[in-house]
Subunit: 298 residues, 2 copies
Protein backbone atom coordinates (compact mmCIF):
# COMPACT_ATOMS: atom_id res chain seq x y z
CA UNK A 1 0.00 0.00 0.00
CA UNK A 2 1.42 3.35 -1.03
CA UNK A 3 1.86 6.17 1.47
CA UNK A 4 -1.17 8.44 1.74
CA UNK A 5 -1.00 11.77 -0.10
CA UNK A 6 0.16 14.79 1.87
CA UNK A 7 -2.90 16.69 3.12
CA UNK A 8 -2.53 19.62 0.70
CA UNK A 9 -2.40 17.30 -2.30
CA UNK A 10 -5.34 15.24 -1.08
CA UNK A 11 -7.35 18.43 -0.66
CA UNK A 12 -6.49 19.75 -4.12
CA UNK A 13 -7.37 16.37 -5.57
CA UNK A 14 -10.83 16.30 -3.95
CA UNK A 15 -11.48 19.91 -4.88
CA UNK A 16 -10.63 19.30 -8.51
CA UNK A 17 -12.71 16.15 -8.64
CA UNK A 18 -15.73 17.94 -7.16
CA UNK A 19 -15.34 20.92 -9.49
CA UNK A 20 -15.43 18.61 -12.50
CA UNK A 21 -18.34 16.59 -11.14
CA UNK A 22 -20.35 19.75 -10.44
CA UNK A 23 -19.78 20.91 -14.01
CA UNK A 24 -21.17 17.55 -15.18
CA UNK A 25 -24.14 17.41 -12.81
CA UNK A 26 -25.44 20.92 -13.46
CA UNK A 27 -27.57 21.47 -16.57
CA UNK A 28 -25.45 22.79 -19.48
CA UNK A 29 -25.16 26.58 -19.81
CA UNK A 30 -26.86 26.55 -23.20
CA UNK A 31 -29.90 24.48 -22.17
CA UNK A 32 -33.15 26.50 -22.18
CA UNK A 33 -33.65 28.68 -20.16
CA UNK A 34 -29.98 29.53 -20.70
CA UNK A 35 -29.82 32.56 -18.42
CA UNK A 36 -31.06 30.52 -15.47
CA UNK A 37 -28.59 27.72 -16.16
CA UNK A 38 -25.76 30.22 -16.52
CA UNK A 39 -26.68 31.72 -13.15
CA UNK A 40 -26.74 28.26 -11.55
CA UNK A 41 -23.32 27.42 -12.95
CA UNK A 42 -21.92 30.85 -12.09
CA UNK A 43 -22.93 30.33 -8.46
CA UNK A 44 -21.63 26.78 -8.14
CA UNK A 45 -18.55 26.62 -10.33
CA UNK A 46 -16.47 29.32 -8.80
CA UNK A 47 -13.83 27.52 -6.81
CA UNK A 48 -15.16 27.78 -3.29
CA UNK A 49 -13.22 26.06 -0.50
CA UNK A 50 -15.48 23.02 -0.98
CA UNK A 51 -15.39 22.45 2.76
CA UNK A 52 -18.49 20.23 2.81
CA UNK A 53 -17.25 17.99 -0.02
CA UNK A 54 -13.89 17.72 1.77
CA UNK A 55 -15.64 16.67 4.97
CA UNK A 56 -17.70 14.10 3.07
CA UNK A 57 -14.62 12.60 1.39
CA UNK A 58 -12.71 12.63 4.69
CA UNK A 59 -15.57 10.87 6.47
CA UNK A 60 -15.81 8.41 3.59
CA UNK A 61 -12.25 7.24 4.37
CA UNK A 62 -13.51 5.88 7.69
CA UNK A 63 -15.77 3.33 6.02
CA UNK A 64 -14.14 2.61 2.67
CA UNK A 65 -16.77 4.61 0.76
CA UNK A 66 -16.75 4.49 -3.03
CA UNK A 67 -15.46 7.61 -4.74
CA UNK A 68 -18.39 7.68 -7.16
CA UNK A 69 -20.95 7.80 -4.40
CA UNK A 70 -18.93 10.39 -2.46
CA UNK A 71 -18.83 12.52 -5.57
CA UNK A 72 -22.62 12.57 -5.82
CA UNK A 73 -23.03 13.34 -2.12
CA UNK A 74 -20.39 16.07 -2.35
CA UNK A 75 -22.08 17.72 -5.34
CA UNK A 76 -25.49 17.64 -3.66
CA UNK A 77 -24.01 19.26 -0.52
CA UNK A 78 -22.28 21.91 -2.56
CA UNK A 79 -25.44 22.73 -4.54
CA UNK A 80 -27.35 23.24 -1.28
CA UNK A 81 -24.52 25.39 0.06
CA UNK A 82 -24.39 27.44 -3.17
CA UNK A 83 -28.17 27.96 -3.14
CA UNK A 84 -28.00 29.24 0.43
CA UNK A 85 -25.23 31.71 -0.46
CA UNK A 86 -27.15 33.03 -3.48
CA UNK A 87 -30.26 33.64 -1.39
CA UNK A 88 -28.32 35.03 1.60
CA UNK A 89 -26.68 37.60 -0.63
CA UNK A 90 -30.01 38.93 -1.98
CA UNK A 91 -30.99 42.52 -1.13
CA UNK A 92 -33.77 41.39 1.25
CA UNK A 93 -31.23 39.33 3.23
CA UNK A 94 -27.58 40.39 3.57
CA UNK A 95 -27.60 42.55 0.42
CA UNK A 96 -24.03 41.65 -0.43
CA UNK A 97 -22.28 42.38 -3.70
CA UNK A 98 -19.14 40.28 -3.39
CA UNK A 99 -18.77 36.52 -3.04
CA UNK A 100 -15.66 34.44 -3.62
CA UNK A 101 -14.02 37.51 -5.14
CA UNK A 102 -16.71 38.04 -7.78
CA UNK A 103 -20.01 39.93 -8.04
CA UNK A 104 -22.81 38.06 -6.28
CA UNK A 105 -25.35 36.27 -8.46
CA UNK A 106 -28.04 38.98 -8.33
CA UNK A 107 -25.44 41.62 -9.22
CA UNK A 108 -24.05 39.62 -12.14
CA UNK A 109 -27.53 38.60 -13.34
CA UNK A 110 -30.58 40.13 -11.64
CA UNK A 111 -32.58 39.53 -8.49
CA UNK A 112 -35.31 37.41 -10.04
CA UNK A 113 -32.79 35.19 -11.81
CA UNK A 114 -30.77 34.81 -8.60
CA UNK A 115 -33.91 33.84 -6.69
CA UNK A 116 -34.77 31.19 -9.28
CA UNK A 117 -31.17 30.00 -9.57
CA UNK A 118 -31.08 29.39 -5.81
CA UNK A 119 -34.43 27.61 -5.96
CA UNK A 120 -33.32 25.43 -8.85
CA UNK A 121 -29.95 24.62 -7.23
CA UNK A 122 -31.79 23.26 -4.21
CA UNK A 123 -33.98 21.11 -6.44
CA UNK A 124 -30.96 19.92 -8.41
CA UNK A 125 -29.30 18.73 -5.20
CA UNK A 126 -32.24 16.47 -4.36
CA UNK A 127 -32.61 15.33 -7.97
CA UNK A 128 -28.97 14.31 -8.01
CA UNK A 129 -29.09 12.49 -4.69
CA UNK A 130 -32.25 10.66 -5.77
CA UNK A 131 -30.52 9.56 -8.97
CA UNK A 132 -30.45 6.03 -10.28
CA UNK A 133 -27.56 3.66 -9.69
CA UNK A 134 -26.37 5.03 -6.38
CA UNK A 135 -26.60 1.56 -4.92
CA UNK A 136 -28.83 0.58 -2.01
CA UNK A 137 -32.13 2.55 -2.31
CA UNK A 138 -32.78 2.45 1.44
CA UNK A 139 -29.39 4.03 2.19
CA UNK A 140 -30.06 6.56 -0.53
CA UNK A 141 -33.33 7.56 1.11
CA UNK A 142 -31.47 7.92 4.39
CA UNK A 143 -29.03 10.28 2.68
CA UNK A 144 -31.90 12.30 1.23
CA UNK A 145 -33.53 12.63 4.64
CA UNK A 146 -30.21 13.64 6.19
CA UNK A 147 -29.61 16.38 3.61
CA UNK A 148 -33.20 17.64 3.77
CA UNK A 149 -33.25 17.76 7.57
CA UNK A 150 -29.96 19.64 7.64
CA UNK A 151 -31.09 22.23 5.09
CA UNK A 152 -34.70 22.89 6.07
CA UNK A 153 -36.51 24.93 8.67
CA UNK A 154 -35.04 22.89 11.53
CA UNK A 155 -31.56 23.18 10.01
CA UNK A 156 -29.82 25.71 7.78
CA UNK A 157 -32.88 27.75 6.72
CA UNK A 158 -34.00 27.82 10.36
CA UNK A 159 -30.60 29.12 11.42
CA UNK A 160 -30.90 31.90 8.85
CA UNK A 161 -34.29 32.81 10.26
CA UNK A 162 -32.90 32.97 13.83
CA UNK A 163 -30.07 35.12 12.51
CA UNK A 164 -32.60 37.53 10.95
CA UNK A 165 -34.52 37.78 14.19
CA UNK A 166 -31.33 38.37 16.19
CA UNK A 167 -30.04 41.47 14.41
CA UNK A 168 -29.51 44.22 16.96
CA UNK A 169 -30.45 41.95 19.88
CA UNK A 170 -27.97 40.77 22.49
CA UNK A 171 -27.77 36.97 22.40
CA UNK A 172 -26.42 34.78 25.16
CA UNK A 173 -23.84 32.15 24.22
CA UNK A 174 -26.31 29.22 24.24
CA UNK A 175 -28.61 31.09 21.86
CA UNK A 176 -25.71 32.02 19.61
CA UNK A 177 -24.55 28.41 19.62
CA UNK A 178 -28.02 27.23 18.60
CA UNK A 179 -28.07 29.72 15.74
CA UNK A 180 -24.66 28.58 14.53
CA UNK A 181 -25.52 24.94 15.07
CA UNK A 182 -28.43 25.32 12.66
CA UNK A 183 -27.09 27.89 10.22
CA UNK A 184 -23.71 26.28 9.54
CA UNK A 185 -23.38 23.28 11.79
CA UNK A 186 -26.31 21.33 10.39
CA UNK A 187 -24.92 21.14 6.85
CA UNK A 188 -21.37 20.54 8.11
CA UNK A 189 -22.74 17.65 10.14
CA UNK A 190 -24.70 16.38 7.15
CA UNK A 191 -21.48 16.41 5.10
CA UNK A 192 -19.83 14.06 7.60
CA UNK A 193 -22.90 11.83 7.87
CA UNK A 194 -23.42 11.66 4.11
CA UNK A 195 -19.79 10.75 3.60
CA UNK A 196 -20.14 7.96 6.16
CA UNK A 197 -23.39 6.74 4.55
CA UNK A 198 -21.50 6.23 1.26
CA UNK A 199 -19.54 3.35 2.76
CA UNK A 200 -19.92 0.31 5.00
CA UNK A 201 -22.32 0.77 7.88
CA UNK A 202 -20.56 2.06 11.01
CA UNK A 203 -21.04 0.74 14.54
CA UNK A 204 -23.31 2.76 16.81
CA UNK A 205 -20.28 3.88 18.78
CA UNK A 206 -18.39 5.07 15.72
CA UNK A 207 -21.51 6.83 14.50
CA UNK A 208 -21.86 8.69 17.80
CA UNK A 209 -18.20 9.67 17.74
CA UNK A 210 -18.70 11.15 14.27
CA UNK A 211 -21.76 13.06 15.46
CA UNK A 212 -19.82 14.53 18.35
CA UNK A 213 -17.05 15.44 15.95
CA UNK A 214 -19.48 17.13 13.54
CA UNK A 215 -21.05 19.29 16.22
CA UNK A 216 -17.67 20.53 17.37
CA UNK A 217 -16.19 20.97 13.91
CA UNK A 218 -19.30 22.83 12.73
CA UNK A 219 -19.14 25.26 15.63
CA UNK A 220 -15.38 25.64 15.17
CA UNK A 221 -15.94 26.52 11.52
CA UNK A 222 -18.38 29.27 12.45
CA UNK A 223 -16.28 30.69 15.30
CA UNK A 224 -13.29 30.93 12.95
CA UNK A 225 -15.62 32.60 10.42
CA UNK A 226 -16.57 35.18 13.03
CA UNK A 227 -12.91 35.79 13.86
CA UNK A 228 -11.96 36.16 10.20
CA UNK A 229 -14.90 38.49 9.58
CA UNK A 230 -13.29 41.01 11.90
CA UNK A 231 -9.58 40.31 11.34
CA UNK A 232 -9.11 39.47 7.64
CA UNK A 233 -9.40 41.81 4.68
CA UNK A 234 -12.11 41.72 2.04
CA UNK A 235 -9.48 40.79 -0.54
CA UNK A 236 -8.35 37.75 1.47
CA UNK A 237 -11.89 36.60 2.24
CA UNK A 238 -13.29 37.15 -1.26
CA UNK A 239 -16.40 38.48 0.45
CA UNK A 240 -17.16 41.68 2.32
CA UNK A 241 -15.19 41.70 5.59
CA UNK A 242 -16.59 43.14 8.80
CA UNK A 243 -20.15 42.96 7.57
CA UNK A 244 -21.53 40.95 10.47
CA UNK A 245 -20.39 43.40 13.11
CA UNK A 246 -21.37 46.32 10.83
CA UNK A 247 -24.87 44.85 10.52
CA UNK A 248 -25.00 44.49 14.30
CA UNK A 249 -25.30 40.74 13.92
CA UNK A 250 -24.53 38.60 16.92
CA UNK A 251 -21.11 36.97 16.56
CA UNK A 252 -18.80 35.11 18.89
CA UNK A 253 -16.30 37.92 18.73
CA UNK A 254 -18.97 40.49 19.58
CA UNK A 255 -20.10 38.38 22.51
CA UNK A 256 -16.78 37.36 24.06
CA UNK A 257 -14.15 39.55 22.42
CA UNK A 258 -11.42 38.48 20.00
CA UNK A 259 -9.05 36.91 22.51
CA UNK A 260 -11.65 34.71 24.17
CA UNK A 261 -13.10 33.76 20.77
CA UNK A 262 -9.63 32.56 19.76
CA UNK A 263 -9.32 30.52 22.93
CA UNK A 264 -12.79 29.08 22.33
CA UNK A 265 -11.77 28.08 18.80
CA UNK A 266 -8.67 26.38 20.21
CA UNK A 267 -10.79 24.38 22.66
CA UNK A 268 -13.26 23.35 19.98
CA UNK A 269 -10.41 22.19 17.76
CA UNK A 270 -9.04 20.00 20.53
CA UNK A 271 -12.45 18.60 21.41
CA UNK A 272 -13.22 17.85 17.77
CA UNK A 273 -9.96 15.94 17.35
CA UNK A 274 -10.48 14.13 20.67
CA UNK A 275 -13.83 12.83 19.50
CA UNK A 276 -12.06 11.07 16.62
CA UNK A 277 -9.85 8.98 18.95
CA UNK A 278 -12.13 5.96 18.83
CA UNK A 279 -11.91 5.83 15.03
CA UNK A 280 -8.11 5.52 14.94
CA UNK A 281 -6.01 6.12 11.84
CA UNK A 282 -8.99 5.99 9.48
CA UNK A 283 -9.99 9.41 10.79
CA UNK A 284 -6.68 10.96 9.80
CA UNK A 285 -8.15 13.17 7.06
CA UNK A 286 -10.88 14.44 9.37
CA UNK A 287 -8.24 15.43 11.94
CA UNK A 288 -6.16 17.16 9.28
CA UNK A 289 -9.25 19.00 8.03
CA UNK A 290 -10.01 20.14 11.56
CA UNK A 291 -6.58 21.70 11.77
CA UNK A 292 -7.11 23.29 8.41
CA UNK A 293 -10.44 24.76 9.54
CA UNK A 294 -8.90 26.09 12.73
CA UNK A 295 -6.00 27.77 10.96
CA UNK A 296 -7.49 28.69 7.59
CA UNK A 297 -6.57 32.19 6.43
CA UNK A 298 -9.96 32.72 4.71
CA UNK B 1 -69.74 -2.02 -3.59
CA UNK B 2 -71.35 1.29 -2.78
CA UNK B 3 -71.95 3.91 -5.48
CA UNK B 4 -69.03 6.31 -5.87
CA UNK B 5 -69.37 9.72 -4.23
CA UNK B 6 -70.70 12.54 -6.38
CA UNK B 7 -67.75 14.54 -7.75
CA UNK B 8 -68.30 17.57 -5.50
CA UNK B 9 -68.29 15.43 -2.37
CA UNK B 10 -65.24 13.46 -3.49
CA UNK B 11 -63.41 16.73 -4.11
CA UNK B 12 -64.36 18.21 -0.72
CA UNK B 13 -63.28 14.96 0.92
CA UNK B 14 -59.82 15.00 -0.70
CA UNK B 15 -59.38 18.70 0.01
CA UNK B 16 -60.20 18.25 3.67
CA UNK B 17 -57.94 15.23 3.99
CA UNK B 18 -55.03 17.10 2.38
CA UNK B 19 -55.59 20.18 4.52
CA UNK B 20 -55.36 18.06 7.68
CA UNK B 21 -52.35 16.14 6.42
CA UNK B 22 -50.52 19.36 5.54
CA UNK B 23 -51.17 20.68 9.03
CA UNK B 24 -49.58 17.49 10.40
CA UNK B 25 -46.62 17.38 8.01
CA UNK B 26 -45.52 20.99 8.47
CA UNK B 27 -43.43 21.84 11.54
CA UNK B 28 -45.63 23.20 14.37
CA UNK B 29 -46.13 26.99 14.47
CA UNK B 30 -44.45 27.26 17.86
CA UNK B 31 -41.29 25.30 16.95
CA UNK B 32 -38.17 27.49 16.85
CA UNK B 33 -37.79 29.57 14.69
CA UNK B 34 -41.49 30.25 15.20
CA UNK B 35 -41.83 33.12 12.73
CA UNK B 36 -40.46 30.99 9.90
CA UNK B 37 -42.77 28.11 10.75
CA UNK B 38 -45.73 30.45 10.99
CA UNK B 39 -44.90 31.81 7.52
CA UNK B 40 -44.63 28.27 6.12
CA UNK B 41 -48.00 27.31 7.59
CA UNK B 42 -49.59 30.61 6.52
CA UNK B 43 -48.55 29.95 2.93
CA UNK B 44 -49.66 26.31 2.83
CA UNK B 45 -52.72 26.11 5.03
CA UNK B 46 -54.95 28.58 3.34
CA UNK B 47 -57.47 26.52 1.47
CA UNK B 48 -56.16 26.66 -2.07
CA UNK B 49 -57.99 24.66 -4.72
CA UNK B 50 -55.55 21.77 -4.08
CA UNK B 51 -55.61 20.99 -7.78
CA UNK B 52 -52.39 18.96 -7.70
CA UNK B 53 -53.50 16.82 -4.75
CA UNK B 54 -56.85 16.26 -6.50
CA UNK B 55 -55.03 15.12 -9.65
CA UNK B 56 -52.82 12.79 -7.60
CA UNK B 57 -55.81 11.23 -5.82
CA UNK B 58 -57.72 10.95 -9.12
CA UNK B 59 -54.76 9.25 -10.80
CA UNK B 60 -54.40 6.99 -7.77
CA UNK B 61 -57.87 5.56 -8.49
CA UNK B 62 -56.53 4.09 -11.71
CA UNK B 63 -54.12 1.79 -9.90
CA UNK B 64 -55.71 1.18 -6.52
CA UNK B 65 -53.21 3.41 -4.73
CA UNK B 66 -53.22 3.52 -0.94
CA UNK B 67 -54.70 6.65 0.59
CA UNK B 68 -51.79 7.03 3.00
CA UNK B 69 -49.23 7.13 0.21
CA UNK B 70 -51.39 9.48 -1.86
CA UNK B 71 -51.64 11.78 1.12
CA UNK B 72 -47.84 12.07 1.35
CA UNK B 73 -47.47 12.64 -2.40
CA UNK B 74 -50.27 15.23 -2.32
CA UNK B 75 -48.67 17.14 0.56
CA UNK B 76 -45.26 17.16 -1.13
CA UNK B 77 -46.83 18.49 -4.34
CA UNK B 78 -48.72 21.16 -2.46
CA UNK B 79 -45.61 22.27 -0.55
CA UNK B 80 -43.73 22.70 -3.83
CA UNK B 81 -46.67 24.60 -5.28
CA UNK B 82 -46.93 26.83 -2.19
CA UNK B 83 -43.18 27.55 -2.25
CA UNK B 84 -43.42 28.61 -5.89
CA UNK B 85 -46.32 30.97 -5.15
CA UNK B 86 -44.49 32.57 -2.21
CA UNK B 87 -41.41 33.23 -4.33
CA UNK B 88 -43.44 34.34 -7.40
CA UNK B 89 -45.22 36.94 -5.32
CA UNK B 90 -41.97 38.54 -4.06
CA UNK B 91 -41.20 42.11 -5.12
CA UNK B 92 -38.36 41.01 -7.43
CA UNK B 93 -40.77 38.71 -9.29
CA UNK B 94 -44.50 39.54 -9.68
CA UNK B 95 -44.59 41.86 -6.67
CA UNK B 96 -48.09 40.82 -5.74
CA UNK B 97 -49.89 41.63 -2.52
CA UNK B 98 -52.92 39.34 -2.70
CA UNK B 99 -53.06 35.55 -2.83
CA UNK B 100 -56.05 33.34 -2.11
CA UNK B 101 -57.86 36.39 -0.77
CA UNK B 102 -55.20 37.22 1.83
CA UNK B 103 -52.03 39.31 1.96
CA UNK B 104 -49.12 37.50 0.30
CA UNK B 105 -46.48 35.99 2.57
CA UNK B 106 -43.97 38.84 2.29
CA UNK B 107 -46.71 41.39 3.03
CA UNK B 108 -47.98 39.47 6.05
CA UNK B 109 -44.45 38.72 7.32
CA UNK B 110 -41.50 40.33 5.52
CA UNK B 111 -39.45 39.66 2.40
CA UNK B 112 -36.61 37.80 4.07
CA UNK B 113 -39.00 35.53 5.96
CA UNK B 114 -40.99 34.86 2.78
CA UNK B 115 -37.79 33.96 0.93
CA UNK B 116 -36.77 31.52 3.68
CA UNK B 117 -40.31 30.13 4.03
CA UNK B 118 -40.36 29.31 0.32
CA UNK B 119 -36.91 27.73 0.57
CA UNK B 120 -37.90 25.65 3.57
CA UNK B 121 -41.21 24.56 2.02
CA UNK B 122 -39.30 23.15 -0.92
CA UNK B 123 -36.99 21.25 1.44
CA UNK B 124 -39.94 20.01 3.48
CA UNK B 125 -41.52 18.56 0.34
CA UNK B 126 -38.46 16.41 -0.37
CA UNK B 127 -38.04 15.50 3.30
CA UNK B 128 -41.62 14.28 3.41
CA UNK B 129 -41.38 12.28 0.20
CA UNK B 130 -38.11 10.70 1.38
CA UNK B 131 -39.81 9.69 4.63
CA UNK B 132 -39.66 6.26 6.17
CA UNK B 133 -42.43 3.70 5.72
CA UNK B 134 -43.68 4.80 2.34
CA UNK B 135 -43.25 1.27 1.09
CA UNK B 136 -40.96 0.24 -1.76
CA UNK B 137 -37.78 2.42 -1.59
CA UNK B 138 -37.11 2.12 -5.33
CA UNK B 139 -40.58 3.47 -6.17
CA UNK B 140 -40.06 6.19 -3.60
CA UNK B 141 -36.84 7.27 -5.30
CA UNK B 142 -38.73 7.33 -8.60
CA UNK B 143 -41.30 9.65 -7.02
CA UNK B 144 -38.54 11.91 -5.71
CA UNK B 145 -36.94 12.13 -9.12
CA UNK B 146 -40.31 12.84 -10.73
CA UNK B 147 -41.05 15.69 -8.30
CA UNK B 148 -37.55 17.15 -8.56
CA UNK B 149 -37.51 17.06 -12.37
CA UNK B 150 -40.90 18.73 -12.53
CA UNK B 151 -39.92 21.53 -10.13
CA UNK B 152 -36.36 22.33 -11.16
CA UNK B 153 -34.67 24.33 -13.88
CA UNK B 154 -36.01 22.05 -16.60
CA UNK B 155 -39.49 22.22 -15.09
CA UNK B 156 -41.39 24.77 -13.03
CA UNK B 157 -38.45 27.04 -12.09
CA UNK B 158 -37.34 26.95 -15.73
CA UNK B 159 -40.82 28.01 -16.85
CA UNK B 160 -40.67 30.94 -14.46
CA UNK B 161 -37.33 31.97 -15.92
CA UNK B 162 -38.72 31.83 -19.49
CA UNK B 163 -41.67 33.89 -18.28
CA UNK B 164 -39.30 36.52 -16.87
CA UNK B 165 -37.38 36.71 -20.12
CA UNK B 166 -40.59 37.01 -22.15
CA UNK B 167 -42.07 40.11 -20.52
CA UNK B 168 -42.72 42.69 -23.21
CA UNK B 169 -41.68 40.31 -26.01
CA UNK B 170 -44.09 38.83 -28.53
CA UNK B 171 -44.05 35.04 -28.22
CA UNK B 172 -45.28 32.63 -30.86
CA UNK B 173 -47.70 29.92 -29.76
CA UNK B 174 -45.06 27.12 -29.63
CA UNK B 175 -42.87 29.24 -27.36
CA UNK B 176 -45.83 30.15 -25.16
CA UNK B 177 -46.79 26.48 -24.97
CA UNK B 178 -43.26 25.56 -23.90
CA UNK B 179 -43.35 28.20 -21.19
CA UNK B 180 -46.71 26.95 -19.91
CA UNK B 181 -45.63 23.34 -20.24
CA UNK B 182 -42.75 24.02 -17.85
CA UNK B 183 -44.26 26.65 -15.57
CA UNK B 184 -47.52 24.89 -14.79
CA UNK B 185 -47.68 21.76 -16.86
CA UNK B 186 -44.64 20.05 -15.36
CA UNK B 187 -46.02 19.99 -11.81
CA UNK B 188 -49.54 19.12 -13.02
CA UNK B 189 -47.99 16.20 -14.88
CA UNK B 190 -45.97 15.22 -11.82
CA UNK B 191 -49.18 15.18 -9.77
CA UNK B 192 -50.70 12.60 -12.12
CA UNK B 193 -47.51 10.54 -12.28
CA UNK B 194 -46.98 10.63 -8.52
CA UNK B 195 -50.55 9.54 -7.94
CA UNK B 196 -50.03 6.64 -10.32
CA UNK B 197 -46.73 5.70 -8.65
CA UNK B 198 -48.59 5.28 -5.34
CA UNK B 199 -50.39 2.20 -6.67
CA UNK B 200 -49.82 -0.95 -8.71
CA UNK B 201 -47.45 -0.52 -11.61
CA UNK B 202 -49.29 0.48 -14.81
CA UNK B 203 -48.72 -1.03 -18.26
CA UNK B 204 -46.55 0.99 -20.64
CA UNK B 205 -49.65 1.83 -22.68
CA UNK B 206 -51.61 3.09 -19.68
CA UNK B 207 -48.61 5.08 -18.57
CA UNK B 208 -48.35 6.77 -21.98
CA UNK B 209 -52.06 7.54 -21.97
CA UNK B 210 -51.64 9.25 -18.60
CA UNK B 211 -48.70 11.25 -19.89
CA UNK B 212 -50.70 12.44 -22.86
CA UNK B 213 -53.53 13.34 -20.53
CA UNK B 214 -51.19 15.29 -18.21
CA UNK B 215 -49.74 17.37 -21.02
CA UNK B 216 -53.19 18.36 -22.24
CA UNK B 217 -54.70 18.91 -18.81
CA UNK B 218 -51.68 21.00 -17.75
CA UNK B 219 -51.99 23.25 -20.78
CA UNK B 220 -55.76 23.45 -20.33
CA UNK B 221 -55.26 24.57 -16.74
CA UNK B 222 -52.98 27.39 -17.84
CA UNK B 223 -55.15 28.53 -20.76
CA UNK B 224 -58.15 28.74 -18.42
CA UNK B 225 -55.93 30.68 -15.99
CA UNK B 226 -55.12 33.15 -18.74
CA UNK B 227 -58.82 33.51 -19.60
CA UNK B 228 -59.79 34.03 -15.97
CA UNK B 229 -56.98 36.55 -15.50
CA UNK B 230 -58.75 38.84 -17.95
CA UNK B 231 -62.42 37.96 -17.33
CA UNK B 232 -62.84 37.31 -13.59
CA UNK B 233 -62.69 39.82 -10.77
CA UNK B 234 -59.98 40.04 -8.14
CA UNK B 235 -62.58 39.11 -5.50
CA UNK B 236 -63.50 35.90 -7.34
CA UNK B 237 -59.91 34.91 -8.05
CA UNK B 238 -58.57 35.76 -4.59
CA UNK B 239 -55.52 37.15 -6.39
CA UNK B 240 -54.94 40.28 -8.43
CA UNK B 241 -56.88 39.99 -11.69
CA UNK B 242 -55.58 41.31 -15.00
CA UNK B 243 -52.01 41.39 -13.73
CA UNK B 244 -50.51 39.31 -16.52
CA UNK B 245 -51.78 41.57 -19.29
CA UNK B 246 -50.98 44.64 -17.18
CA UNK B 247 -47.40 43.39 -16.79
CA UNK B 248 -47.24 42.84 -20.54
CA UNK B 249 -46.73 39.13 -19.97
CA UNK B 250 -47.37 36.78 -22.84
CA UNK B 251 -50.70 34.99 -22.38
CA UNK B 252 -52.90 32.88 -24.60
CA UNK B 253 -55.55 35.55 -24.57
CA UNK B 254 -53.04 38.21 -25.58
CA UNK B 255 -51.78 36.00 -28.37
CA UNK B 256 -55.04 34.71 -29.87
CA UNK B 257 -57.79 36.83 -28.36
CA UNK B 258 -60.45 35.76 -25.88
CA UNK B 259 -62.72 33.91 -28.26
CA UNK B 260 -60.00 31.77 -29.81
CA UNK B 261 -58.51 31.10 -26.38
CA UNK B 262 -61.90 29.75 -25.29
CA UNK B 263 -62.08 27.51 -28.36
CA UNK B 264 -58.54 26.32 -27.68
CA UNK B 265 -59.51 25.45 -24.09
CA UNK B 266 -62.50 23.51 -25.40
CA UNK B 267 -60.26 21.51 -27.73
CA UNK B 268 -57.74 20.77 -25.00
CA UNK B 269 -60.53 19.58 -22.70
CA UNK B 270 -61.78 17.16 -25.35
CA UNK B 271 -58.29 15.92 -26.15
CA UNK B 272 -57.48 15.41 -22.47
CA UNK B 273 -60.63 13.35 -21.93
CA UNK B 274 -60.01 11.38 -25.14
CA UNK B 275 -56.58 10.34 -23.91
CA UNK B 276 -58.25 8.67 -20.92
CA UNK B 277 -60.34 6.32 -23.11
CA UNK B 278 -57.89 3.43 -22.82
CA UNK B 279 -58.12 3.53 -19.03
CA UNK B 280 -61.89 3.01 -18.91
CA UNK B 281 -64.03 3.65 -15.84
CA UNK B 282 -61.05 3.84 -13.49
CA UNK B 283 -60.24 7.24 -15.02
CA UNK B 284 -63.65 8.65 -14.10
CA UNK B 285 -62.30 11.09 -11.50
CA UNK B 286 -59.65 12.38 -13.89
CA UNK B 287 -62.33 13.07 -16.50
CA UNK B 288 -64.50 14.83 -13.94
CA UNK B 289 -61.53 16.90 -12.81
CA UNK B 290 -60.82 17.88 -16.40
CA UNK B 291 -64.36 19.23 -16.70
CA UNK B 292 -63.91 21.04 -13.42
CA UNK B 293 -60.65 22.62 -14.64
CA UNK B 294 -62.28 23.68 -17.92
CA UNK B 295 -65.26 25.31 -16.23
CA UNK B 296 -63.84 26.49 -12.93
CA UNK B 297 -64.93 29.99 -11.97
CA UNK B 298 -61.60 30.82 -10.27
Amino acid sequence: MSAPLPFGEWMACVQERVEKALARHLPPAEAIPARLHQAMRYSCLNGGKRMRPLLAFAAGEICAASGDRLEIAACALEMIHAYSLVHDDLPCMDNDVLRRGRPTCHVEFDEATALLAGDALQTQAFLLLAGESLGDPAAQLEMLRCLARASGSLGMAGGQAIDLGAVGRALELPELELMHALKTGALIGAAVTLGALCGERLSGEAHQALERFSRRAGLLFQVVDDILDCTASTATLGKTAGKDSAADKPTCVGLMGLERAREFAGQLREQAIESLALLGGRARRLAELTDFIAHRPF
